[in-house]
């Protein structure tokens, strides 16, 4: 299981978010294919894909000489779980604070 921090760091970059969202909505693609529709170089895309891969947000599969990347949306579950848990904790604490002040 990846830490929420790893995921947050991976998605903190807007280009990486864009790449991840494209793969989520348009299906698997290679770095070359992604570079054709984004205003950055294939090399830069490749670097972003590596970070996303390390964070568990994409998986790689080799088709002939091409490496295709697929999004793993379920990877976000850890991150959203962190956010939901922390948010719920503070919601409860602040309710108790209000009661203490009442």
């Amino acid at each position: 299981m990846k830490s929420p921090q790893t995921l947050f760091t991976a998605l903190a970059d807007p280009t990486r978010r864009e790449v991840f969202e494209r793969l989520s909505s348009e299906g698997p693609a290679s770095a070359t294919k992604l570079a054709a529709s984004l205003p950055i170089s294939r090399q830069a895309i490749q670097k972003h894909l590596t970070v996303l891969d390390e964070a568990g947000l994409v998986t790689r599969s080799t088709v002939g000489r091409e490496v295709n990347y697929s999004a793993v949306p379920a990877a976000l579950a850890d991150m959203t779980a962190w956010a939901a848990r922390v948010d719920a904790q503070w919601t409860d604490r602040l309710k108790r604070l209000r009661r203490s002040l009442g």
């Binding site: 962190w82 604070l97 209000r98």
Partner: protein, 133 residues
């Protein structure tokens, strides 16, 4: 709803705000009918704080954040009396994070806002955190 969309929903929701910025953070606030001094006392008086927050925080830079079984789980970083307090902690099961509580006066009392953000670095100035023993 896809996980990606859920992420955006969280990012845009006013009540459960998840910001993916330099540091990811959650923000919560409430309005209370109490002055800043009263709210501050709730945060800084150990017995009162333990009651609603589950931890005691020593209100001075370098002060300890302590859970009821006396484990130190964090360190206070910044204190502006009756205005704000910031500490970093690592809960027994959880990522290191930083909490800031701010108190703002309103017409009817105070607004208390909490932000908690994930940290990339380990908390310094506190002993290693042993899990829930």
């Amino acid at each position: 709803m896809s996980a990606t969309r859920w992420l955006h929903t969280l990012a845009l929701s006013a009540t459960a705000k998840l910001q993916i910025v330099d540091q990811p953070e959650i923000e919560r606030s409430i309005e209370v009918e109490a002055g800043a001094a009263e709210v501050w006392k709730q945060i800084t008086d150990g017995a009162l704080a333990e009651e609603w927050m589950g931890v005691m925080v020593e209100p001075r830079p370098g002060g300890q954040v302590i859970v009821p079984n006396d484990d130190v789980i964090g360190t206070v970083e910044e204190v502006v009396p009756e205005r704000s307090i910031t500490w970093s902690w690592r809960k027994p099961v959880g990522e290191p994070s930083q909490v800031t509580i701010t108190i703002e006066p309103t017409d009817t009392g105070s607004r208390v806002t909490v932000t908690e953000r994930l940290l990339e670095y380990r908390i310094t100035g506190s002993p290693p955190i042993v899990g829930a023993a």
